[in-house]
């Protein structure tokens, strides 16, 4: 198992390298280079000042060198071992402990690491709420549909799942906002952000005071998350429910399920202990793709609900040709994808004892 893990981890390195090479070449080839964007503020700059700023960026990022050299330089900066580079961009001695430097974002003028550290928790919060919810609901509905195959519940669920799967998120998001956060219809939810300004001054838990009920920070946050989470989850939830149903149906009619029933086990026991466990495999496969796709897929939702997460950051970075930021984001999501697959492969062994990597 350990050797397998090690092998997989080592294999990640060339994959990640490949990803960064592709992204770097695309960025290098795209029109409207870094210099154009950085010098936006420089419309009224004197030529020599502009030149000075250009020189600064050239030195810092080696922008005057050919793209392959720039790439190697970037790689040296982000890899935990490599040559030490000083402020002037001069290469120093080889070191094993220089640490990773994701660089400085051109348009924000801040270290990329700091920016990511701000944005990741927000996206993570959204997804940590969304993923378990999606799975829980999908499994419940899939299970019920499978055991009551052909019933009106099954037909109704199948139909509505298909419908849900077909609705584009951007439409659903705007409709939800327009109907459930609008004073003209039902103003049940807030329109934007992940917490309201007033809530920042409130205690964490809901309570009553002289002016009546105070919802508190926690409830306020949950209240803000409801619409975005619905938007994020309904699509994948529909797909997962259909998947669960099919996979459970298949196993319900398998020989081992009949044997279990024949030996006198209760139907619940058959369902949850035998059939369910075997039906998990396809769900695990899907989950591998879920981790990074939720990170990227939240872009639309984040924009509609004005949430400052990774999706928005990615779009801003690409629009602004912010090379360091784009590279870091693709690097992180690439890494997450690979980790997702690894976790999925590991979960197979938990769900199915026949699978082993030794």
């Amino acid at each position: 198992m350990l050797t397998y893990l090690l092998r997989r981890l080592l294999l990640m390195i060339p994959t990640l390298l490949g990803i960064t090479i592709v992204v770097f070449s695309v960025m290098a080839a795209s029109p409207g280079g870094i210099s154009a964007q950085t010098l936006v503020g420089g419309m009224d700059m004197k030529p020599q000042e502009k030149q000075a700023l250009l020189d600064y960026y050239n030195k810092r990022y080696g922008l005057d060198q050919p793209p392959p050299m720039q790439y190697l330089r970037w790689l040296n900066n982000v890899s935990p071992i490599g040559f030490v580079t000083d402020e002037q961009g001069q290469r120093g001695a080889f070191s094993f402990s220089k640490g990773m430097d994701l660089g400085t974002s051109f348009q924000y003028g801040r270290p990329v690491g700091d920016i990511l550290a701000e944005r990741i928790p927000i996206t993570l919060l959204l997804n940590l709420v969304t993923i378990p919810l999606t799975y829980l609901l999908a499994i419940m509905i899939g299970m019920k549909s499978a055991t009551q195959r052909g019933s009106s519940f099954d037909v109704g669920a199948s139909l509505s799942m298909l419908a849900l799967w077909s609705i584009p998120t951007m439409l659903a998001g705007v409709l939800l906002l327009g109907f459930f956060a609008n004073v003209q219809h039902f103003q049940w939810f807030p329109t934007a952000g992940i917490s309201s300004r007033e809530a920042l001054d409130m205690p964490f838990l809901p309570h009553w005071d002289d002016n009546g009920f105070v919802r508190g920070f926690l409830l306020d946050r949950i209240w803000h998350l409801i619409l975005p989470v619905i938007c994020l989850s309904y699509g994948s939830f529909a797909a997962l429910a259909k998947l669960t149903r099919t996979s459970i149906l298949e196993n319900l009619h398998a020989d081992y399920a009949r044997t279990a029933r024949a030996k006198g086990l209760a139907e619940d026991e058959v369902l949850w202990k035998h059939v369910f466990r075997n039906s998990l495999l396809p769900l695990i496969t899907v989950s591998a793709g879920l981790l990074p796709s939720l990170l990227a897929g939240s872009l639309i939702v984040e924009n509609i609900f004005s949430i400052n997460g990774m999706g928005q950051l990615a779009v801003e970075a690409v629009k602004g040709r912010d090379r360091e930021l784009v590279l870091s984001i693709t690097w992180v999501s690439g890494f997450l994808t690979l980790i997702g697959y690894l976790i999925a492969d590991f979960c197979y062994t938990l769900a199915d004892p026949r699978v082993s990597y030794d």
Binding site: G33, G42, D44, E118, G193, R197, L205, S306
Partner: protein, 615 residues
């Protein structure tokens, strides 16, 4: 076996529930502390309010007998309007002003920030020596009580008020003014734009604690606004960054000034918070205390979400596009809760089509003024305004606004005239030689050009399609060329375009130097169409040197006539501001500077009955 594992599970579960219970208890404990803190905070803000009221009592002269100053009872001219507002019967302090931003701010540190939204935030925090009177457009003292301009226009001396202090309580003196200038002129500080403007100042000296003198290298028509309009930065706060300029250049929220509002933490605002929040400056020195307790900007990127938020009453103002504005004017819900405003601010910018006259060292077909005039005749601005902007715009004749003194009112906009345009094009050598409906020049090249425009603006896209049809009538082929912003900027820098449509912002008096002087037709200069006219250059230089307004205005008008004749740009239009504002905001008035909403010192307020935010 079954039983054993059950009992072990039981222990596990009870441990788990115990820890959850403990966690909940801990949360309650922390909440109790929080409540205590809030209590203390509200007590403190009440005390601050009491002190404020006391101070305004002193200021209004009720207690002057007890104190020494006699002139303290007077309200400085700059505060007159705000003072009059505070005497209205339903005037009340309190509540928040909440606005929406369409995109995240990258930084609100002065000098480093480049966009208008950040400038708007800073206007509540930083103050300058003088300010424009919204009724007369003349200058009035804010931090300065008086000033003198020398006869040659080369030195300006300001006498500062002695009661001005920054929001941390430290007094503002002449040293801070000198510091601000020196700070901006420090090369390591990333303020090239401000530096370019202040370059005309030779030096700033503090004559005494409350007197400061600006000396200029050469006479300059905007000398007073240059010196008096500089936002004063606090020396004790910003001086340490001279040692670490990079830290300042990369900072996101270093903002401290003498204005009526302040950042609760002047050093640590970061863009990831999304919202920008300013709180009342309890030490505010002004003659009138500001009405709102907080000014809050919410970031709402999605357009429909922004409108819904306005409908719900969670933001106080909504600025609409023309099509939207016309619809919303019929919308009963919006109408019931809003004032709506359609007005032309005097500083509104104009949009234009710039014709590139030089590309890769060679003159283009637009180098011929007859071609440019023909294009202007073909551009039916009235129709664009009617069809695309629904009448909420006026045609632009030149860079100067119609109401301003720089404008020569005898000039009339070019009217759409197909025959004149055809004749001009024919005179310039363009004819349909092969009968395909498109004009060709003498060498048989078809008259075809790409119009570069910013892709994300729907109104512009519609306008370009309309232009395509209009030009086609004269046999000129326009190829729409939508671009992303960074690509557009790069093309501008490289002068790599045929024609481009963009806008310039204006000020009360517009300087033509940046966009039309031939010295700016260099690489990456703002005269990116490569327009050169020595006669205009001379006029611009002379007007900029002329401090006397009566002599300067004829020069600008002469320059305008040259631009009108040459048409380096086809001037399109000035667009009205279309704005909905919540009815709870009172005392909104139109001034010569535009709507007074958000104009400082603040004049609008929320009456007590309509206030909805505490603290």
């Amino acid at each position: 076996m079954q039983k054993q594992s059950n009992s072990r599970d039981w222990v596990l579960y009870s441990l788990l529930s115990l820890s959850i219970l403990l966690l909940v208890l801990a949360m309650y404990q922390i909440d109790r502390q929080w409540l205590k803190l809030t209590e203390m905070q509200s007590t403190m803000s009440e005390q601050a309010k009491a002190v404020r009221e006391l101070r305004s009592l002193i200021g209004s002269g009720v207690l002057t007998a007890a104190t020494s100053g006699e002139q303290r009872g007077e309200v400085a001219p700059a505060f007159q309007r705000a003072h009059a507002a505070s005497k209205l019967p339903d005037y009340a302090q309190g509540d928040w002003s909440v606005e929406a931003l369409g995109s995240n701010l990258k930084t609100i540190t002065p000098l480093v920030s480049a966009d208008a939204n950040a400038a708007n935030v800073q206007s509540y925090v930083l103050e300058s020596l003088i300010t424009r009177n919204p009724d007369t457009l003349g200058w009035e003292g804010l931090i300065a009580k008086s000033w003198q301009v020398s006869d040659d226009g080369l030195t300006i001396t300001f006498q500062l008020r002695d009661d001005v202090s920054f929001s941390d309580g430290k007094p503002l003196t002449a040293n801070d003014v000198v510091f601000t200038f020196n700070f901006i002129m420090t090369d390591a500080i990333q303020a090239p734009r401000d530096r370019a403007y202040l370059e005309k100042i030779k030096q700033v000296t503090a004559d005494s604690k409350y007197q400061v003198t600006f000396s200029f290298k050469e006479p300059y028509f905007e000398a007073l606004s240059l010196a008096g309009g500089m936002a004063i930065m606090a020396e004790h706060f910003y001086a340490p960054y001279l040692q670490e300029p990079q830290k300042f250049n990369e900072s996101k929220g270093l903002l401290l000034g003498s204005g009526p509002y302040k950042l609760a933490d002047p050093k640590n605002w970061t863009p990831d918070q999304g919202n920008v929040e300013l709180v009342r400056n309890d030490h505010y020195w002004g003659d009138v205390q500001p009405p709102y307790n907080r000014i809050l900007w919410k970031v709402i990127q999605n357009d429909s979400a922004r409108l819904t938020t306005y409908r719900n009453g969670d933001i106080d103002a909504y600025s609409a596009r023309p099509v939207e504005y016309r619809q919303l004017k019929q919308d009963a819900q919006i109408q019931a809760k809003s004032h709506n405003f359609e007005y032309m601010p005097p500083v509104v910018g104009y949009s234009y089509i710039g014709w590139n006259q030089q590309r890769a060292g060679k003159p283009t077909r637009f180098a011929d003024p007859r071609v440019r005039q023909a294009m202007t005749y073909l551009t039916d601005v009235d129709r664009i305004i009617k069809d695309v902007f629904l009448g909420y715009a006026e045609p632009a004749i030149s860079p100067f606004g119609h109401a301003g003194k720089q404008h020569d009112s005898s000039l009339l906009p070019y009217r759409y005239d197909l025959d004149k345009a055809k004749a001009l094009l024919k005179a310039a050598g363009y004819e349909d030689r092969n009968g395909d409906g498109v004009l060709e020049d003498k060498s048989g090249q078809p008259f075809e050009f790409k119009l570069t425009y910013f892709q994300a603006n729907e109104d512009t896209s519609r306008m370009v399609l309309l232009l395509k049809d209009l030009y086609a009538k004269a046999g000129v082929k326009l190829v729409p060329f939508p671009q992303e912003w960074p690509v557009m900027l790069e093309n501008l820098d490289k002068k790599d375009f045929d024609a481009i449509t963009l806008g310039w912002t204006s000020s009360i008096e517009t300087d033509l130097y940046q966009a039309f002087h031939s010295s700016q037709a260099i690489s990456k200069g703002d005269n990116f169409v490569g327009y050169r006219n020595p006669a205009l250059d001379k006029l611009i230089d002379e007007a900029r040197r002329t401090v006397d307004e009566a002599k300067r205005m004829p020069l600008w008008q002469q320059a305008e006539r040259i631009l009108y004749q040459d048409q380096p740009y086809t001037f399109l239009m000035r667009r009205q501001s279309l704005l909905f504002i919540d009815q709870r905001i009172h005392n909104l008035q139109m001034t010569k500077l535009g709507l007074n909403y958000g104009a400082l010192p603040l004049e609008s307020y929320v009456p007590l009955a309509q206030q909805k935010y505490g603290q």
